[in-house]
């Protein structure tokens, strides 16, 4: 896995004011234009507003004219108040294919998605989408920055979504669970303890991992701490799926802990 690329492919950007997100989006999209990608900026407001917000990117208006850049008022990009997770992935996959066909290196999107996660059912739905789009990003030249407003969303909602991204500018959940391959292999990074137990359970539900050859493969190379509760949760989760979770990491203590608590459906593979 090209980890450094994955980290940059799907940042979660938590912002205090719209100008802050726009500045981050400009950086993110400018890197795309520099690499020969097609870029999209999606947010609330009119096309004129959005164009003005991206105006500081050198050559942005030329890019808009020649088709390398595009701004999309929010309602046009997603199917309505609720995102169809699978459908939205297909939409971006088609747009990525089109960009490639037209000679671009890939497709890159920055979107303020605050308005899609205001109710619990919207959050569940969008969280599922975040995971699925992560799978697509892991193996396709598509990248996306997701903007979430700290002013408009409760911290618990942001944490629930943040932890499904490989990176970003916040650290509310303490851990991250994100796809590193199209078939659903995931990376689990950071620290998992009593404080994050409910978030982990939700993240696993949203990821809805499917076993491959009877295994749920979890890359724990950047795992720094995992408590026995999270170990047992992973094991129980694998059991619910008639699978074995295989956690690869370089922490011998995780191996000892899994053995002590009898995590029957979790195998720890030490890499160091």
């Amino acid at each position: 896995v090209r980890r450094s690329e994955v980290l940059d492919e799907h940042p979660c950007w938590v912002y205090d004011d719209a100008a802050g997100f726009q500045a981050a989006a400009r950086d993110f999209l400018a890197r795309g234009l520099d690499s020969g990608e097609r870029v999209l900026f999606i947010g609330p407001g009119t096309e004129t507003d959005l164009l003005a917000q991206m105006g500081d990117i050198t050559g942005f208006s030329t890019s808009v004219e020649n088709g390398a850049a595009k701004v999309i008022p929010l309602s046009g990009a997603y199917s309505g108040g609720t995102v169809d997770p699978q459908g939205q992935v297909q939409t971006y996959a088609a747009a990525t294919d089109e960009a490639i066909a037209q000679g671009y290196a890939g497709l890159r999107v920055a979107a303020d998605v605050t308005s899609y996660v205001r109710t619990p059912s919207q959050v569940d739905n969008f969280a599922r989408y975040e995971h699925l789009i992560g799978r697509y990003m892991a193996e396709n030249p598509f990248s996306g920055m997701c903007g979430y407003s700290r002013q408009e969303l409760p911290e618990s909602t942001i944490a629930e979504l943040e932890c499904l991204h490989p990176g970003g500018n916040s650290s509310l959940a303490g851990f991250r669970l994100y796809p590193v391959s199209a078939n659903g292999e995931v990376a689990l990074t950071g620290e998992l303890d009593f404080a994050s137990r409910e978030l982990l359970a939700k993240a696993l539900e949203h990821a809805d991992l499917k076993p491959v050859d009877g295994e749920l493969r979890i890359d724990g190379a950047e795992l720094r701490f995992i408590d026995h509760r999270a170990i047992l949760r992973l094991s129980a989760y694998a059991q619910e799926r008639d699978a074995k979770a295989v956690l690869r990491c370089d922490l011998p203590v995780v191996s000892r802990l899994a053995e002590l608590v009898g995590a029957a459906n979790l195998r720890v593979e030490l890499t160091a």
């Binding site: 408590d227 047992l232 002590l260």
Partner: protein, 316 residues
């Protein structure tokens, strides 16, 4: 079916053998083992090298004895778990009774660690009570310290003596009362020094991070990781079940690190907590893990509340 002195007894028949000469030990142990082999019971010797050799050479036919040694008595919960596993295997294989003669390595009598072995001797009365076990714990009265002997009398329901007698020990206290009773505890002298780091109501991540900050180079990375897990569990327990504020104090010397987690509550209500893995593996595992991962754990009930002192390295 039970045989010998434990005939008709249900559960764990736990005896102490307090001897003052080799002959006295052999007078009790040889008939115990010989009879076990004769009636076909799993008959196990968990003695140190010297006494194991002494006993087997005194037996007319020692073939058939099984020997246990070494890591069995590494840590109390590990010893309990490995014995439970062994006993369950014998029962599954059809054993009507299992006989064991055991003794601690002298290191267990070190005042720095005896407290948790005393808790072990008490806890096994419950922890092994699901099995048809008859065991004798051998103590040499010539070399066993008096504070150990006094706990031995409180934790063994019966004594096995020369001449085949099995009198009840009047000082015996059931685990629920022995383990719950506040007992004078011996503190590591390091606890008298000022902590290197003291945190009050820390977030878990900060409580964990401080462990490696205070750990000296002589402590192995594995031990630092084990202590980090133990501290995480202790702080989690104190925050969930204790009464705040939670104080976490970190102390270190060249050969050990001690982290003390204190709250104003009463500590765990279950006297077996920490020594026996809970049957349901969700919740209650924290204290048991601390006991499995640390080189010493001291539960300290004080008028101010409850503290758990977690040591990796060499307890003193």
């Amino acid at each position: 079916m039970r045989t010998g002195a434990a005939q008709g007894y249900q559960g764990y028949y736990h005896e102490a053998v307090c001897y003052s000469s080799d002959d006295e030990l052999l007078d009790v142990v040889v008939p115990f083992l010989t009879e076990g082999l004769k009636v076909g019971e799993p008959t196990i010797v968990a003695l140190g090298e010297r006494n194991a050799a002494l006993v087997s050479s005194a037996m007319a036919d020692p073939a058939g004895l099984a020997y246990l040694s070494g890591p069995v008595y590494n840590r109390p919960p590990g010893a309990i778990a490995s014995y439970q596993k062994l006993l369950a295997q014998h029962v599954a294989a059809g054993a009507g009774q299992i006989r064991i003669i055991g003794e601690f390595a002298p290191a267990a009598f070190d005042p720095a660690v005896w407290h948790w072995w005393a808790r072990y001797e008490s806890a096994i009365n419950l922890a092994f009570d699901d099995y048809p076990l008859w065991s004798m714990c051998a103590y040499d009265t010539r070399s066993t310290p008096s504070y150990v002997m006094s706990d031995v009398l409180c934790t063994h329901p019966r004594m096995a003596t020369a001449g085949g007698l099995h009198p009840e020990i009047p000082q015996y206290q059931p685990p629920a009362s022995f383990l719950a009773r506040p007992r004078p505890v011996r503190h590591d002298p390091l606890l008298a020094s000022a902590p290197l780091i003291e945190l009050t109501d820390p977030v878990l991540e900060a409580a964990r991070a401080a462990v490696s900050k205070v750990s000296p180079p002589g402590i192995s990375p594995n031990s630092v990781d084990d202590l980090t897990v133990a501290v995480n569990e202790a702080v989690t327990n104190a925050m969930r079940h204790g009464k705040g504020p939670v104080h976490v104090r970190y102390r270190a010397a060249a050969d050990r690190v001690i982290v003390s987690v204190s709250d104003q509550g009463n500590g765990p209500p279950d006297p077996l907590a920490g020594l026996v893995a809970p049957k349901v593996p969700i919740g209650g595992l924290g204290l048991w893990l601390m006991h499995q991962l640390c080189d010493y754990v001291l539960l300290d009930h004080t008028p101010e509340g409850f503290s758990v002192h977690l040591t990796v390295g060499v307890p003193r």
